[in-house]
Structure formats: structure tokens, C-alpha cells
Amino acid sequence: MQQLSSKHLLGIKDLTTSDIELIFETADNFKEVINRPIKKVPSLRDITIANVFFENSTRTKLSFELAEKRLSADVVNFSSSNSSVKKGETLLDTVNNILAMKVDMVVLRHSSPGAPHFLARHIKANIINAGDGTHEHPTQALLDTFSIREKLGDVAGKKVAIIGDILHSRVALSNIFALQKLGAEVMVCGPNTLLPKFIGNVGVKVELDVKKALKWCDVANVLRIQMERQQIKYFPSLREYTLYYGINKQLLDALDRPITIMHPGPINRGVELNSDVADSEHSIILNQVENGVAVRMAVLYLLAGIASDN
């Protein structure tokens, strides 16, 4: 009998290693469930979950919604683009109004870092951070590390390179925390302008040459260039970025051993990742998506389990 140490999932930073292991063990069981002919269990049938998305999302939103439905929860969806937020309502008011309709859990995506932490201080429902600005994206990191564990047997001792736009990536930060908690070595690689100034302080290796990074690592987690968050030019052109940091088959063929390729999606094909790599046998990109549902089911289930204590 075990439970998570927190009633919210705000970031990987707040989780303990045993929390992550409990999530993985529970996700193993849910992965078996979602591969059955009947993919549904009734665990959350008396729970209502609001998916509150202030930012666009396809994968994360679908994945959360499927996870919720496979656990038999009632689901309401909210996206800011067609809501009263446009009329000037605050985040807290919006969410309090949703909660007044008796919602038990909130899955929140917001463009401001710390938005879920702010909500968690003010409302009673369990909050799950589905990405807050450039800060954290905990379920993505959990599903990434879960996928590494599935592919390579273990995360501890593995060398993982995170390549691309580290500066704007919440996936990078959450992955760094998760990988370090599970005992992996982490390297970040990208052009200097896309690396945060103090990235060395979180205990990761920094590499500017993508060839050296690929040679060093067991797993390369390739990130998308986030054009929507870049108000200024961080590199001369996309073509130049691809030339220096794009990963293609020739680069991988030049290595002495195969490495595992990951990408949190959406892929800019031909920019950070070539199709001959994205669709190759060493890519686990679609496994990541499948595992995403199982991992999110585990998170929802475990958080719902401790709700009764309050």
C-alpha cells in the first residue's frame, strides 16, 4: 500500500524517486489494460475532471482525455480560445467557476510558468500540470522516462542527450529532473543562443556539437524548435539550424552503435529530425505516445486515490 507524496502533480521537481517508481509500476498495469479488447476500468467513475487548456495542444489533450475516459471519469473540456477568458475573466475566477460545478480534478495547461502552482494554493481540487509556459511538463517527462525504461530496461546509468531548443522547452526541464532522480546522466545540446544561461547549475553536461552529443549518448531526445515562443531571432535561419543540428540517417550511421531516438512531438520533419530517422526502427516516438496514456492513467488514478484524505 503506497501513495504519492503530494495531492497535486505540479512538476517533477516536487516528486520523490519512489513517487516516480510508484507511477511507473501503476502505469505498467494500465498499459496491460489499454491493450485489452475492453480498454476501460471503472476506478474513477465518481470523479469529474476538467481539462483546462489555455494553450493549444493535440497530443497532451487527447492523451489526457483518453486516459480519463479509460478510467471512467466524467470529462469536461475547456479551451480559452472560445471562452469568457476573452472577455477578461481571471484564471482563478475561471477555475473557481468550473469547480463550482463540482469538478474534482483539474488538468491545466497555461502559458505562464507557475500558473498551476498558483491554482494549487487557492483551490481544493487536485491539479495536474499539463505544461506551464517554459517551466515544466511533468507527465511528458514521466512518459519519456517510462519509455526509456521500457526500451532499455532501466533508466539508471543511461546517458540521455536532450537536443534542440532547451531555452523554451518545459519538456527539457522536466526531463532533466526526472532523469536525474532516476539516476541517468543528462547532456543538453543546442546552439548557444537556445541554451539557458544557468543550465550548467542543474548538473547537466553541455555540448554545442551535435555529433559529439550523439556519440556520447544512449538515447537522444530531440526537441522541437518552438517558433511560437521566439520573439527574436536565435539563429540565422531554419535551414542553417537543420544544417548544424538536424538529425539525419547519415549522422546516426556514422556512430559505432545504434542509439534510441525520441521526440515529444509535434515533429517539424526535415528541421530537427529527418523522416528517415523519425520513422526508423530505433525511433520510439509512437511508443512514447502509447505510453503517454498509460502514464497519465497512473497519475490520475494515484492522485484520485489520495483525494479522500482531505
Partner: protein, 182 residues
């Protein structure tokens, strides 16, 4: 400390042999019958019964492991949630006779959840329940076992402690203990 031995290794062996004979009486060669052990401890018992039946019948017996955690009705109502275990049912139970196997039958709520969990693998033609220890007069549900190792009259303040070699104990022992002396 109140601790009463219900079954030891030798008695357990005799009991399992008897249960196997009773199963053979009803299921013959087990052509249409599968057995499902309930997590966590029913799976060890199911494995022992399978081994014994296979040596008696010279026949392969389909055995699965079923975990009912996600189907329990006390989720969010108990202080600490139960940890889920592996479900491994590598066959479809549609139109099969199913024998559910568990170590202890108390309120019947686990079995109710298991009946629910089982439907994900098809609609069985018949379901039976085998338990090693039947705690009488304590049911919350209208569930009764068809095969019983031993009937025991117990109080709510007591629990049945099952120690099987598969969990790493030296000997098989099944005890009736007071709840506070775990």
C-alpha cells in the same frame, strides 16, 4: 497474543489435493475450464492447483492472474489506496467455465470486483469460486464459494494471515490472528 494455526504445510497439501479432486469431479478433463488466481495471494494457490491438476490429468490447464484493484468499490474510501498488481490472462474466457481462486473469502468485495474485472476478457459460460479459507458469517455481498479448503468462524477484530513459501517464508502456515498483532 492470540494466534491460532488454521493450516500448516502438511494439512495445506492434503486440502489442495482434496480441492483438486473436487474440481475434477465437476470439470473432468478441463477442456472448457480455465482457472484464474486473484492477486495478490490467490495466484500462488492457483499455480499449486494447476500443477497438481496437470499431474493428475496429464493435461495442460489454462491459468491466468487477475487483479481487481481498478474495479474495487472502496477506491477513495480507504485511507491508503491499494497497490495494483499484474493482470495476466493470456486467453479469452468467452464461453469457458472459469474457476476463480483466492486465499481468503471475507466480505466478498474482492470477488465482486474480480467478477467485474473478468468481464474484460469475455463472457464466461459459468463462474465458480474456490477459496482456501472461508470466513463464515462475515459477508457484505451475496457471494458464496463452491469449493472451500476450510470453513472458519471469525470475528471482525481478527484477520487470517496467509504465509506461503512463494512469498519467501520457510513454511506454509495459515493463522488466525487478532488485527492488532500483525
Amino acid at each position: 497474543m492470540q494466534k491460532r494455526l488454521l493450516l500448516d504445510s502438511k494439512l495445506l497439501d492434503i486440502t489442495i489435493s482434496r480441492l483438486c479432486q473436487q474440481l475434477i469431479e465437476n470439470h473432468g478433463e478441463f477442456e472448457d475450464t480455465v482457472i484464474l488466481g486473484l492477486q495478490p495471494k490467490g495466484i500462488f494457490l492457483a499455480e499449486r492447483i494447476k500443477t497438481k491438476l496437470e499431474s493428475l490429468l496429464q493435461n495442460k490447464i489454462q491459468t491466468g492472474q487477475l487483479d481487481a484493484t481498478f474495479h474495487r468499490d472502496d477506491f477513495r474510501r480507504r485511507v491508503t489506496p491499494l497497490k495494483a498488481n499484474t493482470t495476466n490472462v493470456p486467453f479469452i474466457i468467452e464461453d469457458k467455465k472459469v474457476v476463480l481462486i483466492d486465499d481468503v473469502l471475507f466480505t466478498g468485495r474482492t470477488v465482486r470486483a474480480a467478477l467485474d474485472a473478468m468481464t474484460a476478457f469475455g463472457r464466461p459460460s459459468k463462474v465458480e469460486l474456490l477459496v482456501l479459507i472461508n470466513r463464515r458469517y462475515s459477508r457484505d455481498t451475496p457471494i458464496e464459494p463452491q469449493y472451500v479448503g476450510k470453513h472458519v468462524n471469525t470475528m471482525f477484530s481478527q484477520r487470517v494471515l496467509v504465509e506461503l513459501k512463494e512469498q519467501g517464508t520457510k513454511k506454509d502456515n495459515i493463522w488466525l490472528v487478532d488485527k492488532k498483532d500483525k
